[in-house]
Amino acid sequence: MKKLMLALASIALIATAVNAEEVKAPATEVAAPATAGEATKVKMKIKAKEKDGLVKAKVAISHDMLTYDQAKKKGKEANFITHITATVGDKVVYDASTSQFLSKNPLIKFQFAGKKGDELKITYTQLKGETFFATKKIK
């Protein structure tokens, strides 16, 4: 049964990959560091509640989000989040490429189909490429 599920899943996924534009290839390279286990676990305030199959998520990430201008004034290096992804298992439920213009300690909200007990994982990448993540079980 499991093999059949895997086979079906892989066919579905390949179908998705085939339908996508050529941009898929570069995406593979970029995300590789995260899957290679280099991500650092950090604390994030994650709220994820499911009702009628819909999960509402609210995530507060601690991050200075230093813009180039702010960094210059402070004599520091600019550092801000450039990508935020939320996954449940292998499924991507939120995906955003971000700029220096998100607020300090960004607060994001999003919704997706899911169920209680599943684990929501939030991963973010910052300017230099380091990745960080946190997880929370959906209530």
Partner: protein, 145 residues
């Protein structure tokens, strides 16, 4: 045959977690574009967005330019949604990929240096683009740290 299936699964698994699109890597010019039209062009190409049913919300007057609550919501089957503004040195704020099984309903907090307008562009699954714009005043500039 089994080996091929296994490797296909492996590739597929990789692809699944990467149905994420890194717009920063894919469209670098979109992130350095200084004005909204250039940013839209760098991101989506030469497009003529139509007026769409997109609910873009932000306070009329933002008391703190460093943390302006913005929400964007649409029932248009969307592939991606991008938010731009014309008050900062660069125009692009964020680009969402709308994954399967999720609602195009996002909230976030952004910085704006001064009063201006926010533009949301929705890339529909039908290949068409839709946009909506919102003006807001910023009481205290948001990039002062």
């Amino acid at each position: 045959m089994k080996k091929m299936m296994l490797s296909l699964v492996a590739v597929a698994a990789m692809t699944a977690s990467l149905s994420a699109t890194d717009y920063r890597a894919e469209k670098p010019d979109a992130w350095t574009a200084k004005d909204v039209p250039s940013a839209i062009k760098a991101l989506y190409g030469e497009i003529t967005p139509a007026e769409g049913d997109i609910k873009l919300k932000a306070p009329k007057v933002a008391s703190n330019g460093g943390a302006i609550p913005v929400s964007v919501k649409t029932d248009i089957p969307a592939k991606s949604i991008a938010i731009f503004q014309d008050a900062n040195p660069e125009a692009t704020v964020i680009v969402f990929t709308v994954p399967e099984g999720t609602k195009a309903d996002f909230s976030l907090k952004i910085k704006m240096k001064k009063s201006g307008s926010i533009t949301a562009v929705v890339e529909g699954k039908d290949g068409k683009f839709y946009e909506t714009k919102l003006s807001l005043e910023v009481a205290l500039g948001g990039c002062e740290g």
